[in-house]
């Protein structure tokens, strides 16, 4: 027998993924903002020698979905695949959260209600009578503080009891008379029909005018007379007003229940959140504070990641490389193997691995921001400015996520209701500089701007945002005309980020970085090495090697931007599969030059570049064609190869124009 399936359903930011991690021991990404989870995820809970499949879903406010992530959750709930639904509720927000609960109950689902974040409710002096709530809804109610692991076992016990009892629940929602009349009317029409869902629920959804159900009616083989009657009902009644009446019925039910079981304090308890928000989303301070926060992130990343621990990592990599090379020579390994290991592995992959401390600090800081509740505030303060470019605040979240990596950045656009907004946000995300590009910047910063590391990084990131916004405006006026969607967003309370969450998010990213160095970067660098030492007739790493030929072919393209050697050109080419490979390839190609002289990559870079060309090279890296993983994500999300090609080409074009303009104008002005 297959395992019982338990799905986690609830409003955005109610703690589903936190609970999922607690159940399954997984390390899924959590954060304190609505919309962290955009995909369905599965895991296994082992409890008392039994296994259960746990399904984590994106947050939804209702079973009528607008955006891609909500559709994923809604489709799953409607599929009837789950044996039990754990409906997670934010205890401070019962009225609104119960709305979804009423919809689950309408479907006669087996629901276990979890009142999460009880500690916060307590702080705000909100008292909830759980026994009364359970009686009113006719379902088990359990309290929990998921992030502390409190109440986890109670939830599992309640779920198992529901599975064992096998009893079904009635829909306790009371509809207003007008609506009820029509629901019953439709129910009569549907009587005797075979439907994939309960008749009553289907009737409610038809009265509500739910598109999903109306489509289903067409497809489930009802006789024509029934379909006609339903369609007539629709034509006759203005379905919009019914829709809101049904919503209102559910809401007044939820409100009535809440009124009976929740006691709120006379006057809202002022929380620390209110005080912090006075500053962070202030009219004048909002954006400067955002800028300051980002600057602090880069400054700390630099000081801690590069200056304090960076040297250590470099020494370790070189030390290990030296030992390995020595060993290979000692056992009389063939020259090609020594070269592959010394130049390819240590010079290439090692050059990437050296940045682990830096990346670690960066992701620690970004994770801290995500877990604190600041993300929605950033969206809030940017909303006004974003509108000038035809987007809205929510789009800004996908941009900040893109700072970590463009893949989740693009995925996070799933939460956007409007297709146009979403498309534009996806297309501009590659301009948000990701973690993988940092090693490239840092090498150039160390060579040319050693005293202004954070400032250069900050400027690059800022410039990326600027280019992204300008392109958003351009797309708005050309490819995607039309109104930007409405902006509604919850600002969750600030929470002290838990060490566990921050470390977990950091570790997943750092692990990914290391794993990439060992897999894709290793593969790319090895491939580049092979191309650099073949054909055997040519000198290794010379212009006459295959790689040299490719590079020389590309040189004329990049010459106007100031980087004229084949090595520099081919490194950009190597960056298309993965950005770290730019440094990896430069490291490998220049390894011969620096290793023998006891120098480091930075010294060689200093010989081959000038301040100006270093700048144009960094801008090129910032803006040009995103890595293969990002292109793949764009393909998956847009379901079209056309947008992949478009993104690859237009980003390259923009990058080329900017890099050439900077070099040419800079040269004219006499910079070098």
């Amino acid at each position: 027998m297959s395992n019982h399936k338990i799905a986690l359903v609830g409003n955005p930011n109610s703690g589903k993924t936190t609970l999922f991690n607690a159940f399954t021991g997984s390390n899924q990404h959590v954060g304190n903002w609505p919309g962290v989870t955009v995909e369905k995820k599965e895991g296994i809970l082992k409890y008392k020698n039994k296994e259960y499949d746990i399904i984590d879903l994106p947050g939804i406010y209702s079973l009528g979905a607008f955006s891609e992530d909500e559709i994923v959750a809604m489709d799953y709930v409607l599929s009837n695949d789950a044996d039990v639904i754990i409906n997670i509720i934010d205890s401070c927000n019962i009225e609104r959260n119960l709305y979804l609960t009423t919809q689950l109950l309408e479907m006669s689902k087996n629901v276990v209600l979890v009142l999460n974040m009880c500690d916060e409710a307590q702080k705000r002096e909100i008292k909830i009578d759980t026994a009364a709530l359970s009686a009113r809804l006719g379902i088990p109610v359990v309290t929990a503080v998921a992030y502390k692991g409190e109440g986890i076992e109670d939830i599992v016990e309640a779920v198992i009891k529901v599975i064992d009892d096998k009893k079904s629940y009635d829909n306790p929602v009371v509809y207003n008379e007008n609506v009820l009349h029509h629901i019953e009317h439709i129910e009569e029409i549907l009587e005797g029909c075979t439907l994939p869902y309960p008749t009553r629920w289907t009737a409610i959804k038809i009265v509500e005018g739910d598109n999903h159900v109306l489509e289903m009616i067409d497809e489930c083989g009802l006789n024509e007379e029934t379909i006609k009657q339903i369609k007539d009902f629709h034509k006759f009644h203005n379905k919009d007003s019914f829709e809101l009446e049904v919503v209102d019925s559910r809401y007044s039910f939820a409100n009535n229940v809440a009124r009976d079981v929740v006691i709120r304090p006379e006057k809202e308890v002022k929380t620390i959140t209110d005080k912090i928000d006075k500053f962070l989303i202030n009219k004048y301070l909002g954006i400067p504070i955002f800028a300051a926060i980002m600057f602090i992130v880069f400054q700390t990343t630099f000081i801690v990641g590069e200056e304090i621990f960076g040297g250590l990592a470099a020494d370790l990599v070189e030390g290990f490389g030296g030992i390995l090379e020595g060993f290979l020579v000692l056992v009389n390994s063939p020259d090609w193997l020594v070269s592959l290991v010394a130049d390819g592995l240590i010079g290439g992959v090692g050059a990437v691995i050296e940045f682990v401390p830096l990346i670690t600090v960066l992701y620690l800081m970004l994770g801290f921001l995500e877990d604190s509740g600041y993300m929605s505030r950033a969206a809030y303060v940017w909303d006004n400015l974003m509108r000038k470019f035809g987007l809205h605040g929510k789009a800004f979240i996908s941009m900040i996520i893109g700072f970590g990596c463009n893949v989740p950045g693009i995925m996070s656009t799933r939460t956007m209701e409007n297709k146009k907004d979403r498309m534009i946000s996806m297309l501009i995300n590659p301009f948000m500089s990701c973690g993988a590009k940092i090693p490239i910047y840092v090498v150039f910063i160390a060579a040319f701007f050693p005293n202004h590391g954070a400032l250069v990084l900050f400027t690059l990131y800022g410039f990326g945002i600027l280019v992204g916004l300008i392109m958003a405006k351009v797309f708005n006026n050309t490819l995607f005309k039309g109104e930007s969607s409405y902006f509604i967003m919850e600002l969750p309370p600030y929470r002290m980020p838990t060490i566990k969450n921050v470390l977990r998010n950091m570790w997943t990213n750092v692990y990914d970085f290391i794993a990439r160095a060992g897999t894709i970067i290793f593969t790319v660098v090895t491939l580049m090495w092979v191309l650099a030492v073949l054909p055997t007739s040519a000198d290794p790493y010379s212009k006459e090697s295959f790689l040299g030929m490719i590079g020389s072919f590309l040189v004329p393209l990049f010459k106007p931007a100031g980087f004229g050697t084949w090595q520099e050109s081919v490194a950009l080419f190597a960056g298309i599969p993965a950005k770290e490979a730019v440094v990896g390839t430069l490291g490998m190609l220049y390894a011969g030059e620096y290793m023998e002289e006891g120098k480091i990559l930075v010294d060689v870079i200093r010989q081959h570049f000038t301040h100006l060309t270093a700048l144009s090279y960094m801008l090129m890296v910032l803006l040009y064609t995103p890595c293969a993983a990002v292109l793949g994500t764009i393909g998956r999300e847009t379901k079209s190869i056309k947008w992949v090609i478009f993104t690859a080409l237009y980003t390259f074009l923009i990058a080329w124009i900017v890099a050439v303009a900077v070099f040419q104008i800079g040269s004219l002005l006499g910079f070098s």
Binding site: C92, E95, D240, V247, Y251, D277, Y486, M489, E490
Partner: protein, 84 residues
């Protein structure tokens, strides 16, 4: 009692939602987030950017364009302590 747009309220004002004259999706979303007919809200911030309203103590940011279409009835009792 006069019905006015949410965007006309000031920080500290309290009001009851009367009707929402936005597009279907936006209206439904607002309803689902607690801004339905008769819901009590208080305005936490309305100076630039989205209007920040509190519904049962939860903060919801509503873009200015949309906030304009939310019609509310101001609850009077807050008049006296408006100037704080």
């Amino acid at each position: 009692m006069m019905t006015i747009s949410l965007i006309k309220l000031h920080e500290g004002d309290e009001a009851k939602v009367e009707s929402i004259a936005a597009g279907k999706d936006a209206t439904k979303r607002l309803y689902e987030m607690g801004l339905n007919t008769k819901a009590r809200i208080s305005v936490l911030k309305n100076d630039f950017g989205p209007v920040l309203a509190s519904v049962n103590g939860n903060k919801i940011a509503i873009g200015r364009g949309l906030a304009e279409k939310v019609m509310v009835q101001k609850t009077e009792k807050e008049e006296e302590n408006r100037d704080e």
